[in-house]
């Protein structure tokens, strides 16, 4: 008896011709309901713009905080009659310390004189050098300052510790709040974009329900049916993110100029390589989001439509 032709064949392998038909179907999907496609695109652009802006804002906050952190110094004054060697030996084992500078009393005096300028004579009136040995410490992040200061104060050779404690605390708190805020905006934008793309593909699926039913009955593979919808989602996601990135890339240099002229103490990111990387990641996110949301929309539907119960 004759065997059934082709039932051993695996679906999933697409011929070049099938791919051409799929591309044509994708274009049809995008143009048949062009109003819906346009609406999805505008929504995607707005959301990706929000997403990119909040990510860029978060990056700049981090950049600014790290710049300020770089300037934060803990000054440790050693008890009279002691030197800094014991303390330095202990500090070298701490991994979050970026830099340690030992300042002998003479050097400290020079620094003091340079700092107070015209009033330096007042210091020389004392006769002998009143300054002890001191150590200047820089940490990799401001959050490490307070615990380190507590440890330093308990060290027997240490007389006093001077640091911008209040500023360090504030900086840590502000940085955490801003990071949390921009992360929330980022997550919200991602979820809304995914839902909008998912919905668009779902509507396209429902409008072609009859066609899909016939395609399944005449032997079209699941891949052949699903791919135009997945490509539709990917196209809208990619184009949405690309347009948003173009807008951000066009406006960002002007924003930098304004910040530099009005708030010169604020450091903003203007490294072109870093920015390019950021834009590429954003477009990649758009493409991935489009692919994932449309795949979820199609997969469930096609599996339900083609698998008998």
């Amino acid at each position: 008896m004759a065997e059934l032709k082709g039932t051993s064949g695996e679906e999933g392998t697409l011929s070049m011709m099938s791919f051409k038909y799929i591309m044509r179907d994708t274009m049809r999907l995008l143009t048949r309901h062009w109003g819906l496609s346009l609406l999805t695109l505008v929504t995607a652009v707005s959301l990706f713009f929000l997403l990119a802006s909040s990510a860029l804002f978060s990056l700049n906050v981090r950049h600014f905080v790290s710049e300020v952190e770089d300037d934060l110094v803990i000054s440790v004054f050693i008890k009279e009659g002691e030197d800094a060697s014991n303390l330095v030996a202990n500090l070298q084992e701490v991994d979050f310390i970026k830099d340690i500078r030992v300042i002998p009393p003479e050097k400290g005096l020079e620094h003091l004189k340079a700092k107070i300028g015209s009033q330096a004579r007042a210091v020389t009136l004392l006769g002998e050098n009143p300054l002890p040995w001191s150590v200047e410490i820089q940490v990799i992040r401001s959050a490490f300052i307070n615990p380190l200061v507590r440890d330093l104060l308990s060290f027997p050779d240490v007389e006093d510790v001077v640091y911008a404690g209040h500023l360090a605390e504030k900086l840590t708190k502000v940085s955490a709040v801003l990071n949390r805020l921009s992360l929330s905006v980022l997550m919200l934008a991602i979820i809304i974009t995914a839902l909008v793309l998912y919905n668009t593909v779902k509507i396209a699926l429902y409008t072609r329900e009859k066609e899909i039913g016939i395609m399944l009955l005449v032997g079209a593979t699941q891949t052949y049916i699903a791919l135009p919808f997945v490509l539709q989602g990917m196209f809208l996601g990619t184009l949405g993110s690309l347009l948003a990135v173009s807008m951000i890339a066009g406006a960002y240099p002007s924003v930098i100029e304004i910040i530099k002229s009005t708030l010169p103490f604020i450091q903003v990111i203007d490294d072109p390589v870093l920015l390019l990387r950021f834009y590429v990641i954003l477009v990649g996110t758009g493409m991935t989001l489009g692919w994932l949301s449309s795949w979820f929309a199609v997969h469930k539907y096609i599996v339900r439509a083609c698998c008998p119960d």
């Binding site: 008896m1 065997e3 059934l4 679906e11 011709m17 009955l217 005449v218 032997g219």
Partner: protein, 231 residues
Amino acid sequence: MEIRLAGVTKVYEPDITALEDIYLNIDKGEFVYLVGTTGSGKTTLLRLITREIIPTRGQIVVANTNLRNMRNSALPFYRRELGVVFQDYRLLHHLTVYENVAFVLESTGTQPRVVRDIASRVLDDVGLWRLRKHYPLQLSGGEQQRLAIARAMVNSPSVFIADEPTGNLDLHTSEDIMQLLLSINAAGTTVLVATHDQYLVDAYRQRVVELHNGRIKRDERRGRYFVDDEF
């Protein structure tokens, strides 16, 4: 392509028994009428063969392949062996006559040149070539039915399944459709037709399988729509 049904029962949720304990063998190249009242199980039987649904109990074997064990990935290749004409035609109204036929071949990745050749030939066979640029809603009922048949023929199926192919057509058009089905069968294709059309069953005598309340009531070679003592 031969079809074997052994002890097939189909129960729809919650407990509607559409078919019960069906044993039926259809040989390659046979022409079979499925007759019976509405709700007797004709459409369910056809949907089981196209594997739109699977039986609750029993086995369906088509060309040595048990449909129950068939993997979902193999289903499209099985369905390319079937030509199905639906009761409501299911034509795509936004596509032209030509596109409705070509679309089936495109769905299976056929080269455009081959699509053109086959679609033109099939449309010519069913007498719709001159209307190839029309849309389905611009066609008469008979023409729409012929288009549905053309679409089912285009893959050169081994089994041709038609659910009420002459449902709403006048006698003359129904005879045209019947001639088409007979010519498909003459080319060696197994033809399975679910029908209520007493005139056609009696005029073009073939094997008749009558269903009643989901069971086979009668299976006759060269049968009539009704058994003689029912008159």
